[in-house]
Symmetry: C2
Subunit: 804 residues, 2 copies
């Protein structure tokens, strides 16, 4: 325990406060059980009958009473200290705890007026829960006050930290389920305290709810020794306080004592850090953490049919399963509900009695009305510099080699400088590896609240006020980022392409959250997009090899709603700048940007890039020679490396097959390929046909797995003539060109593809084809002998092409 | 520290042993640096020149010397105690440590004879490393002795535990990188010690390599206080021992002391547990864990150009980047390499001198020759009962409703009973939820080494010798499972469909491992397949709602090599039995089985099921009425729920459009749809056309996202007439039929689809279509009013159909 003095439990709560807090808690719990079971007779004004019970009982009681217990005690302190506090519910199906409180706070009825604060509204409120056409039993987007759904477990703590970064006034209380605590993402997210600065960030108050059971098993943390438990959290850098018991009469004073102490400890840490003399180093404090050890399904019947119920896994979901058909069990439910004495809690009309109503905070201090949990309310657009000012100079297309992400970094650096309290950059130890280190100049380097050593001064770029966040956990970073944007701020995440799969599931969940929020819930205001730069691409894994080759994240993205997903493959630096600017302005999307970190050819001037990115797809005239007529073939491409190889193929064909008419199409905005009725960015049939013809061969060189292009285009008229190249799981330690060759996305194979598909070439180009095949063999031999690609090929540029 | 007495460091190693261990270590380190830099002059018999250096320097030095240090000390104890020990290398690019030892042990030359133990072989050994056409810098499948690649970080500890379950004699030493330790999967996998039984399992000896830096940042665990570090691991349930320093002369005795102590502690724990009086409860011991705190890049140059090198992030990859162009840096590399005194270590021919050769274990005790790390060598096929004995009785198709997974559980229970030391079942707290709890009868319940309470006796199914493994971490379970099969055993994993995405990336990595092992490395013997049952499917999320609806894992699976992936969608229990039996016999695949846990209609007798599953796809005659003629339409389906809805659509059409000729095709083995040249299971064009016709409409009702069927069939002749239904991200809290309706995979929409596509129906069936549309509205209204589907629809069976 900290050195702060702890007020004796008996002195914290007056008898009157104790009585009222308990009553409010009973009201919460009554509502929780009501929504689990009832379609009618909501206040038990008549004896409970089978017809009052839902036909199908689907819900979870287990963690509800522990969560409502935490909630009522947090309410007391919000009122006492005028706290700005939000609540995140980690345990999966614990929504009744949040829903019941939202209803008692009056917020639910404000958001959903038909769920009014009277018997009629209460009945609707009960019925809709976990009911077809109604709401879920997680804290779904429909739940006021929620920024964390908990449908998939493991992200509550990282979401909570994301919420409080740069919100010095905010406390995020986060109840962590002891089941959830077994997940990997949760287990490492406790270390987030090494990235939180008490001066300019708020505080996270975790409440580990150790109620002992998951669906069907005890939890690990509930079955280790108390010493181990305390050591674990001390080892994680927290200061744990334990509230343990099952008698509410004893638990209320204890919880009041511990929550008050923890809030005061948080305030003391913050005051100390914020009032220190200028220049005093900011030290990582030990933040308090509460371990609430209460029975699973607390306050439900102790036993059922001779089996332990309260305090066992049987109380995880519906403690009593068959009240409709089993009269004794109906009685059990009725007695249980009446044990909360609803007649003392609600007035004749069905509203909470004024004495209890007064226990809740008011206005925006009500937890479920806190604007931080509806972040669009607080969001201000970024102050963005003009991205065109960061343009690279392009005299002729395909002449200069440079790293597009490095160019982007200078733009992001100034975005950072202009938005020093509302923009963060995230990356798993790879910001510099991804050539984005120029951001550090504007970001005070990287966030680091763990120990600093003298040698860190030499290039460490670490600072307690750093704003680039790096931890070797994609899960934690994504969780922080989500929490940050859900509370109204902005960010940018870069990660290795192959390992973005680590957060596939987080992507899915956030996309689902956005879709519901955006399409169905008008009261949820738009939040900033998640901007995800995928880099260190499949095609440049010279030493990482096969494990780092997987461009399949885009397949995951295209499974989600077109209303919330965008994919961009900018071919060069100016396009990347244009795309990034667009993404940083957007709301309610997940923007996926695919751009490699290595040096690549540059093609478009900034005006051309803006035009190209605005259209999202277009013919590159400089590489086409089909002026005004139907081409013999279309060479299309998406992605920086495929674009470069496709252009090299065009150069070869232009030289060796001068009569061939080629149209060169580049795709930036991948969803332009989809039919317009299926995606808002989709090209019309006419636009598509005018680019790709209706009958000419299309050789499409794609960054990722070829099947994705077929998935997007199979309804198009000319689809049967689409011949798509992409990654096909062939690779090891290879030079760039060798890897391209193995997967047939290289210049030589593409030229062969064209020759094979254009009838007029099939006779005339046979020795060109042989030459191409020889080139392939030579390239591989050279690489295996020398460890690099032949210089002539590595340094190839389009700008050496003679004018058309 | 434990109560065991620790031998004073000075007494552990004799001066002679110390000298020889250090020499062996220098040989390892010399080889590590050699493979990073050299293409020629491998033993520095002439002065180092630029032309001896690789053209492109790609590799990682950082963790190599710490790992080789651990290795040489483990070697000492293997010899001293005749230990059966394998080594897992957690840090990403640390392969040089394993490769160098494999070469010194003579194993590398046995496996790859051209890398012989002489100068010529050594030169090849150096050159191939991280070189195009050569081998990677992770412990790839090409690395003898490796079962853990480390290309993606986070799974070393779970792999190590998987290796030792049911291997009482085996010790898995696992070096964990402090970067890796920040990942979520690693952070929770420390809790694996709650699942390891000292009587019948072996031991894991983790060596946390705290060398302080990742690519570009310090690591968290290196920058918390020593007290926190110790508390953390005590909290995780381990007994940590710290070996810290940088002077090899001091570090050798310390490491010898600690490793010897830990090995003896392991042996003492095991002896105590294994010699206890019968009936004595097995208690969870505190296993030892070593924290090796050595400088990053230990023994490389201390500084470069005035910057700290050894002990900083600059030593993570190549400490000296430009020896070819910078003569001073060339000198630095040469001096560094010569500091290991290669002339004392290798004889004239280039072989390790006999005195040092004798330091390595011999035969299969050599770590990189240990057969556990090439599990197929030890694998014995499962002793399987006849799956047909578990068949459900099917009088008429589509009459009985039952849970297919429950049927499967009885079979798996007996598989377990017959293979009590080589078969385990895995599931994240969901085995019972997935209706597989019958397995517990044969498995001694579930593995549980944490505390037991009296109440666990009532239905807890927990036991220290339980063989079903449940933890709320898909990552840990998959890691255990992989480690278990990689060491020659068998298993079965069931998990919720939506959350299998949590292990997308692990699937990718294991598939890549299998592909290389199977197709390129003959010396790697086949291992058992990973069998993954995906259940609690998208279509039955009545109360979990939208977050639990994602069938996209199959898209991930189809991106990987057809040589190692299989997908099965058995439509009923007998098919599920047949498929499961097939999967349990197979090797070197990842088998994905999709089958729901809820009650569904049963269709096929066991002989029919065997026939159907053997073919993988087929016409169901009982549901077809196109006897011998071309049908008007093909109704095809894959997946249990789509099959049921498709049959209901056929029933409606049969009744209301009696002239319609329908062919009903069911797909079990999804890859049958692919062209035969692209997948070994692919149907020939002729077979495909004979099932699906070349010009009739095909209404394909698919379990997952519709695009996957297009991805598999777009090259087929009749593809333009394929009309695929599948999940399209529409859902919330819905009854089963309502959810099907929202996504148009329901009977009514399917019937409409057929009517819309069969010309002869378009006039005649207009009021049928209206009736179908009315049904849809009625169904949804009923669900919203009553919370359930209308009983007539819920209880629908095909067997009420009049005979054809």
């Amino acid at each position: 325990m900290s050195s702060m003095e702890i007020i004796p439990a008996a002195d914290v709560l007056s008898a009157e406060e104790h009585r009222k807090i308990d009553a409010y808690w009973r009201a919460c719990n009554y509502l929780c059980v009501g929504m689990l079971y009832l379609v009618a007779n909501p206040l038990l004004r008549e004896p409970l009958k089978p017809e009052h019970i839902k036909n199908r009982l689907l819900g979870h009681w287990g963690s509800d009473p522990g969560q409502t217990f935490a909630w009522v005690h947090l309410n007391r302190l919000i009122k006492k200290y005028d706290l700005n506090l939000i609540y995140l519910s980690g345990p999966g199906h614990g929504a009744p705890a949040t829903l019941s409180n939202s209803y008692l706070e009056g917020v639910y009825s404000e958001v959903y007026p038909d769920k009014s604060e009277n018997i009629e509204g209460l009945q609707k409120f009960f019925k809709q829960f976990s009911f077809p056409g109604g709401i879920g039993s997680h804290c779904t987007p429909e739940t006021p006050g929620s920024i964390h759904e908990g449908g998939e477990l493991g992200y509550s703590v990282s979401h909570a930290f994301g919420a409080v970064f740069d919100n010095p006034d905010l406390i995020a209380a986060v109840v962590v389920g002891d089941g959830e605590a077994e997940t990997g993402p949760l287990a490492t997210s406790w270390h987030s305290n090494k990235f939180l600065n008490p001066v300019h960030d708020g505080a996270v108050l975790p409440i580990l709810h150790l109620n002992g059971y998951k669906i069907a098993n005890p939890t690990i943390l509930a079955r280790i020794t108390p010493e181990e438990l305390e050591q674990l959290f001390r080892g994680y850098g927290w200061d744990p306080y334990i509230v343990e018991g099952e008698d509410p009469a004893l638990m209320h004073p204890l919880m009041a004592q511990v929550t008050e102490h923890c809030i005061n400890q948080i305030r003391a840490i913050q005051t100390r850090a914020r009032t220190a003399a200028p220049g005093t180093p900011v030290e990582r404090p030990r933040w308090p953490l509460i371990i609430l050890r209460s029975p699973k399904g607390w306050t439900c019947p102790k036993e059922i049919d001779g089996h332990k119920l309260e305090g066992s896994w049987r109380a995880h979901q519906m403690p009593v399963l068959d009240p409709v058909t089993n009269p004794a069990h109906l009685k059990l439910v009725e007695d249980w509900m009446r044990s909360y004495r609803p007649e003392e809690l609600f007035d004749q009309g069905g509203a909470l009695i004024p004495e209890l109503k007064a226990m809740a905070p008011v206005g925006d201090r009500r937890i479920t009305a806190n604007p931080h949990a509806n972040g669009g309310k607080l969001r201000k657009p970024l102050d963005l510099p003009n991205f065109a000012d960061y343009a690279v100079k392009v005299d002729r297309p395909g002449k200069t080699l440079l790293s597009s992400t490095n160019t982007l970094a200078h733009f992001l650096c100034d975005v950072m400088r202009r938005n020093m309290t509302s923009f963060r950059v995230f990356g798993p130890d790879e910001t510099a590896s991804n050539k984005l280190q120029a951001i550090y100049e504007g970001s005070h380097g990287k966030t680091w609240m763990a120990a600093l050593l003298p040698q860190d001064a030499d290039g460490g770029d670490l600072s307690t006020s750093g704003r680039v966040m790096e931890m070797l956990s994609e899960h934690t970073l994504e969780g922080w980022f989500e929490g940050y944007v859900l509370t109204g701020r902005h960010g940018f995440f870069s990660t290795y392409e192959a390992f973005v799969h680590i957060i596939d599931s987080m992507f899915n969940q956030h996309a689902k959250w956005l879709e519901k929020s955006k399409l169905e819930l008008r009261w949820r205001t738009p939040i900033s997009s998640i901007n995800l730069l995928i880099t260190s691409l499949v095609w440049r894994q010279d030493h990482n090899g096969f494990t780092h080759q997987d461009p399949g994240f885009l397949d995951i993205v295209t499974n989600k709603s077109p209303e919330v997903t965008r994919i961009y493959l900018p071919p060069d630096a100016n396009c990347l700048l244009s795309v990034a600017d667009h993404c940083l302005r957007s709301t309610d999307y997940i923007n996926v940007i695919v751009a490699d970190k290595a040096e690549h050819l540059q093609y478009l001037t900034m005006p051309q890039a803006i035009d190209h990115c605005t259209k999202g797809i277009g013919i590159w005239e400089f590489a086409s020679n089909d002026d005004g007529i139907e081409p013999d073939a279309v060479i299309a491409c998406a992605g920086d490396i495929p674009t470069s190889e496709s252009l090299a193929a065009v150069a070869i064909l232009r030289e060796r097959c001068p009569d061939l008419k080629i149209r060169f199409v580049n795709v930036v905005d991948l969803f332009r390929l989809m039919p317009e009725r299926e995606h808002p960015h989709g090209l019309s049939e006419r636009e598509f046909d005018s680019l790709f013809t209706i009958d000419k061969p299309v050789i499409f060189n794609f960054h990722a797995y070829a099947s994705l292009i077929h998935k997007l285009t199979y309804r198009r008229k000319n689809h049967d003539n689409f011949h798509v190249r992409g990654y096909k799981e062939k690779g090891n330690i290879n030079t760039p060109l060798e890897l391209a060759i193995l997967n047939q996305v290289d210049r030589f194979n593409l030229a062969i593809d064209v020759i094979d598909r254009v009838p007029k070439l099939q006779a005339s180009a046979s020795h060109t084809k042989q030459w191409l095949q020889d080139q392939i063999i030579e390239c591989v031999n050279y690489a295996h002998a020398n460890g690099i690609d032949a210089p002539a090929l590595r340094n190839w540029t389009w700008s050496s092409m003679p004018p058309k």
